[in-house]
């Protein structure tokens, strides 16, 4: 079937005195050439004939598209009540055409989408929110009970998985955390120095940066990176497993998905986040020190200032937060993964929800901690 055989398909028309329309098709009717002929045919049938005769004697080749064209003429005749006769179609094409019965072929239009109005929408939304809260609570309870059991009986944890997760979420994140921590310290110290220079107190940049980093920004930055890097990957992993029925397979084997999949992951982030927060703090201080040196102070001034303002309390308050952040980010990532529904975009939706929920939880927890620390006077 070389290209030279591809003469264009054509349709000719003739109206006889008794109102009978004769359409004569010729050439090659395949899916590339039928389009033009189809449009022409629709145009020719604009005014309804009394009778339609289709002459296919000159059709050299015809595949499913051409058959569809002839079939559409039959359907049209049936719908608009005029007889249609197809002549001179080659027998093997007739047998293709006869596979379709015009009178039983129902071209049902797709069902219209269900109507919605604002009260139903609000109701649905409220129901979803309630369900989400409920699932969170149930999940937290289940997770907590497994954590207690692990404390009592540590062999129950899948330690290999746990160490693998520690490597993936912790060791592999060292580079990005160190880099972002460094840049953060640099930017913070620099913007602080510019405004403090006006008052001649730029030496206090060291105090400002150290406190801001170690109390708030180091753990916060780490947690945000964990949400984007680890929480999303947890959701994607578990979501894919859910779609492939792997979670169901675990459950039917009598293995609890929370113990088997969630626990190692959540414990890993809980352990790793404070460690990474320390790294973020350190590299942030290095960044601040660079600005300090650039302003012409000796390094020892920086270290004495930092040592004077940073107490064990401040360091601990930051790290306690980091532990909680790690727990939340890991847990919400796993939860969103387990909540994955069916369908191809479901995993994408789950990862998005994992990151968004993770960040929201981090910020809310940060606020709660500020209040607690304020009351405790730390």
């Amino acid at each position: 079937m070389a290209d030279k055989d591809k003469q264009p398909a054509t349709v000719g028309s003739k109206t006889e005195s008794d109102g009978c329309l004769i359409l004569t098709y010729s050439g090659r009717l395949d899916c590339l050439t039928t389009g033009a002929v189809w449009r022409k045919t629709s145009y020719l049938l604009h005014r309804q004939p009394k009778r339609l005769v289709v002459d296919a004697a000159e059709v050299s080749y015809c595949d499913g598209s051409g058959i569809a064209l002839f079939f559409s003429l039959r359907l049209r005749g049936l719908r608009n009540q005029f007889p249609v006769e197809i002549r001179n179609l080659r027998p093997e094409l007739v047998s293709l055409l006869e596979r379709f019965q015009a009178d039983t072929f129902d071209l049902r239009p797709p069902a219209p989408p269900p109507q919605t109005n604002i009260p139903t929408e609000v109701g649905h939304w409220a129901w979803h929110v309630w369900q989400d809260v409920f699932e969170h609570i149930a999940f937290i309870g289940e997770l907590a009970s497994w954590m207690l059991k692990t404390l009592i009986r540590p062999v129950g944890l899948r330690w290999n998985d746990f160490f693998l997760m520690v490597e993936r979420t912790g060791a592999n994140a060292i580079g990005i955390i160190a880099l972002l921590g460094f840049l953060f310290g640099l930017i913070l110290a620099f913007s602080g120095a510019i405004s403090m220079q006006k008052f001649g107190v730029e030496v206090y940049v060291a105090d400002l940066t150290a406190i801001a980093l170690i109390r708030v920004l180091g753990p916060f930055l780490t947690a945000i990176i964990m949400a984007g890097r680890t929480g999303s990957s947890y959701a994607a992993e578990l979501g894919t497993m859910k779609i492939n029925n792997e979670i169901d397979a675990l459950a039917t084997m009598g293995l609890d998905p929370v113990r088997f999949l969630v626990l190692p992951r959540v414990l890993a982030t809980t352990l790793v986040t404070p460690l990474l927060a320390v790294l973020a703090n350190l590299s942030g201080l290095v960044g601040a020190a660079v600005v300090f040196l650039w302003m012409g102070f000796p390094l020892v001034t920086f270290t004495t200032h930092v040592q004077r303002v940073i107490t064990v309390q401040i360091l601990a308050s930051g790290l306690v937060k980091a532990v909680v952040f790690g727990l939340l980010v890991g847990a919400v990532g796993c939860l969103r993964g387990l909540q994955t529904e069916l369908g191809p975009s479901a995993v994408g939706i789950s990862t998005t929800r994992a990151v968004v929920s993770g960040i929201v939880l981090i910020v809310v927890t940060e606020g709660i901690f500020s209040v607690i620390y304020y009351c405790l006077g730390i």
């Binding site: 598209s65 093997e92 379709f100």
Partner: protein
Amino acid sequence: MVPQNLYSPSPSDTLIRVEHLTVGFDPEIVLQDISFDVQRGEVLVILGGSGCGKSTLLKNMIGLYQPMQGRILIDGDDIVTAQGLARKAILRKIGVLFQSGALFGSMSLRENVRLALEEFTNLPRDAADLIVSMKLYQVGLHGYGSKMPAELSGGMQKRAAIARAMVMDPQILFLDEPSAGLDPITAGDLDELILSLSQNLAMTFVIVTHELPSVFAVADRVIMLDKQLKKIVATGNPWELRQNTDHPLVYQFFHRNEGISHKKRRTPVNPLPL
């Protein structure tokens, strides 16, 4: 001029030619130095044990994998070396059903099937709609067009994927286990569809299947692959192969349950009192 539908395959009209093909996943060789031809309008069935490389061979033939050695000519053009437009022209001639179906999950069945028509043809909308309906009808999925793939059973997904593969009426259809997971009646309908397309449109089929009834229903020729030898151990029409007793694998394939005594029908120990 010769109308192409009135086509009776003459022995010289080779549509696919596989020459000294070695396929595998470096460094592992799955099939070594195999050659065969497929004539225009022929239905070729590839048989072989699970894991012997049928899907791998198929994926090499459609240009998805790079063979380790050898040539694959489709209508005279080498799909291995073809690039750009030449490659597209070859791909236009073939339709593929993957073993897993591989429907686009974010589209309804109708959209899955219509995609190629929208992209490659200038058919008006109602024409494309009708063609899609007819293809779905042919695979027994009339009325399911607005469903999403995830809402269907495995066998229905497979049939929808067949409809997608043949929507442009390609010259060659590669089907990887089309009737796996189908009930005997639906599988029979599918065999009938394959026969009708091959006889009435001179479509060429390369089919991987394990269903012996399907093999006998549709195959003009069978080639049988062997996992240990990594080559074709037998070729011929199914009736010839059934008589073939030279190769134990071939014999076992066609005489699966012979020699095994049939499962005894259990008689109830305590018949229920009437």
